[in-house]
Amino acid sequence: MPSLRDYRDRIASVKSTRKITSAMKMVAASKLRRAQEQAEAAQPYAIAMGEMMARVAKNVVVNGSSSKLLAGTGSDQRHLLIVMTSDRGLCAGFNANLVKQARRVAYDLIGQKKDVYIVCIGRKGKDVLQRDMGTHIWESFTGMVGKKRVEYAEVSKVSDYVLERFESGDFDVCTLIYNEFKSVLVQSPVVSQLIPFKMDDAVQDNADPVDAAPVGPTSPYDFEPTEEEILNELLPRNIGVQVFRAMLDSAAGEQAARMTAMDNATRNAGDMINDLTLIYNRARQAAITKELIEIISGAEAV
């Protein structure tokens, strides 16, 4: 049976763990606020970009000379998956759920006899995927989330890399898998196709009624310099923005998941301390009673 001292040590150790988890919770809460603010600040650009893309893409006649980012390469044999996880752990199922989803998508494609390549963002995803899909991984990026905020310049390294590989004809379809920040309690893995450009239904519905009017052979927009040049600039930029937005969502989701996990851990530690204190007190009382019995029976014997 453990001695009183063992119980005391146990309680002290759980108490110090609780201190750590509650500090982590508070740090995550303040980081979450910052990440959310940043995600909100970036929203107008992403929405405006999405709408512009939808309007332009709608009026463009896809033909042989169209950009491959829009029209596709004409094949869907080689798939690139961008798997976006966090660099740090201790955020409950945040990374595990995402990797599970990514693996499902990958095995699905492999089952269809497609070639699958993976680009990892975040250390956690890479660590896990390395085990069974190591040969599929092309590249991995870490340190996307800076000390304070997600930098666009940093994130665009990923989109630049992806575009470069696409230009050199290394893959046909690119899919981004990331955690969408739904609320502080809910983050869910989302699979969205980046290349070739797929018009988002939601954006299409929200687009100006002007677009709903029957479109003649010419688009209702004037383009300066030319439609093609604008599109050639707009398409890669759009990919950068999509990745950036996903990264912001993922960064906010990571902090939210960590905050919730640490809140639970703090509460569990509290429960554990209560239980242990109860057992400790009982054991202490038992020891005192035992000593008393010893003294009394000793006195009676005399």
């Binding site: 600040a41 300066e224 600039e233 930029r237």
Partner: protein
């Protein structure tokens, strides 16, 4: 009095402004243009330059390095690659931008040299206009 038009300027990281204005001078890739209410729907790409919004009681100036503008009869939205209010421009920012542009130019594929060269020249031009040093 001229009709007003809704003007929005956003960069990937934040929304810079959203006001009612009379006119906006935009540094288009093919030359400057001034957009007012009732403009033909147009999408244009930008070159590095100064964007000036003038309206009832407002006059705002922003430095943009590129991006797109979408004009319609009653809205002007500018999606800048990087945008800063004129007052926030500093020698440090200018030096940084010039260094990046120079590097991009040096690394660029020979086919793209004229583009990076033009970008760099536009950048130097706007920096000199605002009174910053452009010697690295």
């Amino acid at each position: 009095m001229a009709a007003n038009v809704q003007f929005d300027l956003v960069s990937p990281e934040r929304k810079l402004t959203s006001v009612l204005v009379e006119q906006v001078q935009i540094p288009g890739a093919d030359g400057d243009l001034t957009a007012m209410a009732g403009h033909e729907p147009t999408i244009l790409s930008l070159r590095p330059g100064l964007l000036t919004a003038t309206g009832p009681g407002v006059e705002e100036q922003y430095v943009v390095t590129g991006g797109f503008a979408e004009l319609s009869a009653d809205t002007i939205s500018v999606l800048a690659e990087l945008a800063l209010p004129r007052g926030e421009m500093s020698q440090e920012v200018v030096t940084d931008l010039l260094k990046q542009a120079t590097k991009a130019h040096e690394d660029a594929h020979p086919d793209e040299h004229h583009m990076t060269q033009k970008f760099l020249a536009d950048l130097v031009h706007i920096a000199e206009d605002l009174g910053f040093h452009t010697n690295l």
